[in-house]
């Protein structure tokens, strides 16, 4: 439905410990780079395996090579960008993925009137709470 298979539907049949297809390996490398701090060692291992994978469906391999070079230069951000580009979108290849779902959503504090309104409501709640608790 979303062109993405995070996990087999039942997880009853466990996937092999080390996948052999480049698509899964690249996604694993990407996941390792998206944590804070990025796990470059795991990402490098997965990218190297992906380079030698026989099943490369859904993956733009020259981009994986670029990612390997970026990892060699310890540039995790560039490597993640290359890996993202290496993943072909779902609509163009049967084994592709929905790249939108591979980008974490990281909202930040927005200095908008709505945000300040909510903060004012929070302050009111805290104030009312203090009054009730002290009464």
């Amino acid at each position: 439905m979303l062109g993405l298979s995070p996990l087999p539907a039942t997880t009853a049949a466990q996937p092999p410990a080390t996948p052999r297809d480049a698509l899964t390996l690249v996604r694993q490398a990407l996941a390792a780079l998206e944590v804070s701090p990025p796990d470059v060692a795991v990402a490098t291992e997965r990218v190297l395996k992906a380079l030698f994978a026989q099943d490369t469906r859904g993956v733009d391999m020259p981009r994986v090579r670029d990612a390997a070079q970026a990892l060699g230069a310890e540039d995790a951000m560039a490597a993640a960008a290359y890996l993202m580009k290496a993943l072909r979108p779902a609509e163009t290849a049967p084994a592709g993925v929905d790249r939108a779902l591979l980008v974490p959503v990281r909202p930040r504090f927005a200095a908008t009137p709505a945000a300040y309104g909510l903060l004012a409501a929070a302050a009111l709640l805290i104030g009312a709470g203090i009054l009730i608790a002290r009464e």
Binding site: L102, R106, A123
Partner: protein, 344 residues
């Protein structure tokens, strides 16, 4: 309680039907001090969690192929979805903090001793249920952290052997484990929590609120249980305000759609001690959770000291401090080290 006459009439009419005067029984003055209201504040936190959880449940899809996407939709498309999810998650953290403080207070003052041993056991079960709710909530995120937490569920099932049936994916082959954990998060565990809570409150009512070790009760001051609840509601307002402020200042995001086969995340702070044990002893370290709860259950049996006041608490407090230090040390160890692969 002095009320204007029209409110008095309303109160009389409502009380005649709901027998609310039963909540006006007297409680000691110390019961309205912060250390003794922590349990009631936890209850207020649960009310916030249930309310926001019901709202989130309308938009969450508990299926592995759509869960991550549905959380993104909650954040970006559902009106106030991001704030409601933020309140739910921050309130969960705050509630667990308050609950742990409550446990520490009960332990420190020896409130588990006769005749409250059974209520201590119920409290331990409540703590376990709360941790299970926190854990299943983590899985429901369905990002890399969520899928790695799910792997621990499967590993724990294997450790439990024949007793791990329900936790295993093989229990129901055609229903994803994520869906079953969602069911546990929204129905099974809340139901269990409710039953345990009712039992806990009933036993508190029967035995009364345990007395402090040193303070004497000023005879002139009289409080009712309704005032105790009112105080807890006040602290509940503060908690809601804090959760709202935190959800605006530090909005909660969502990780990328998960991929299995790697371990690159660490669990939430609450589970870091267990993660530390796992780093030291492998998956067998998960038995540490079982050992901790067995110790909690055994506390009233192990503590035979009946001397009054803080003098009678020396050994128990030393043991408690040792456990707390071990948990903190393990947590710090896990926090400072790189994520470790336990499965692959």
């Amino acid at each position: 309680m002095t009320l204007p006459s029209h409110w008095k009439r309303v109160w009389t009419a409502v009380d005649a039907r709901l027998a609310l005067h039963n909540f006006l029984y007297e409680v000691p003055a110390y019961a309205n001090t912060l250390p003794y209201v922590l349990g009631a504040i936890t209850l207020a936190g649960l009310v916030i969690l249930v309310g926001t959880g019901i709202l989130l449940g309308q938009f969450y899809v508990p299926d592995p192929s759509a869960a991550n996407q549905s959380i993104r939709a909650i954040i970006t498309q559902v009106p106030a979805g991001q704030v409601i999810r933020g309140i739910h998650i921050w309130a969960a953290h705050l509630t667990v903090v308050v609950l742990l403080l409550h446990v520490v207070r009960v332990y420190a003052t020896g409130a588990y001793r006769f005749p409250r041993e059974a209520n201590w056991a119920v409290g331990a079960a409540l703590l376990a249920t709360m941790l299970a709710l926190f854990y299943t909530g983590t899985v429901l995120r369905w990002d890399q952290l969520g899928i790695e937490a799910l792997k621990h569920n499967i590993a724990f099932a294997a450790l439990l052997g024949v007793f791990g049936g329900w936790f295993s994916p093989a229990f129901s082959n055609h229903v994803p484990l994520l869906t079953r954990l969602y069911m546990a998060h929204v129905s099974l565990l809340p139901l269990l929590l409710f039953i345990l809570l009712i039992t806990h409150i009933y036993l508190v009512r029967q035995h009364g609120i345990s007395a402090p070790l040193t303070r004497s009760e000023p005879a002139a001051v009289r409080y009712t249980f309704a005032q105790h609840l009112k105080k807890a509601a006040g602290y509940g307002c503060i908690m809601l305000g804090l959760a709202l402020a935190l959800s605006v200042i530090f909005p909660v995001g969502e990780g990328a759609a998960p991929v299995s086969g790697i371990e690159v995340t660490k669990p939430p702070w609450l589970f870091l001690p267990l993660y530390g044990l796992e780093n030291l002893f492998g998956l067998q370290g998960l038995w540490g959770a079982v050992a901790f709860f067995l110790w909690l259950l055994a506390v009233p049996i192990l503590d035979r000291d009946r001397a009054p006041g803080w003098n009678g608490r020396r050994r128990a407090l030393t043991a408690g401090a040792a456990v707390l230090a071990a948990l903190t040390g393990l947590g710090m160890f896990a926090w400072l080290t790189q994520p470790v692969a336990h499965f692959h």
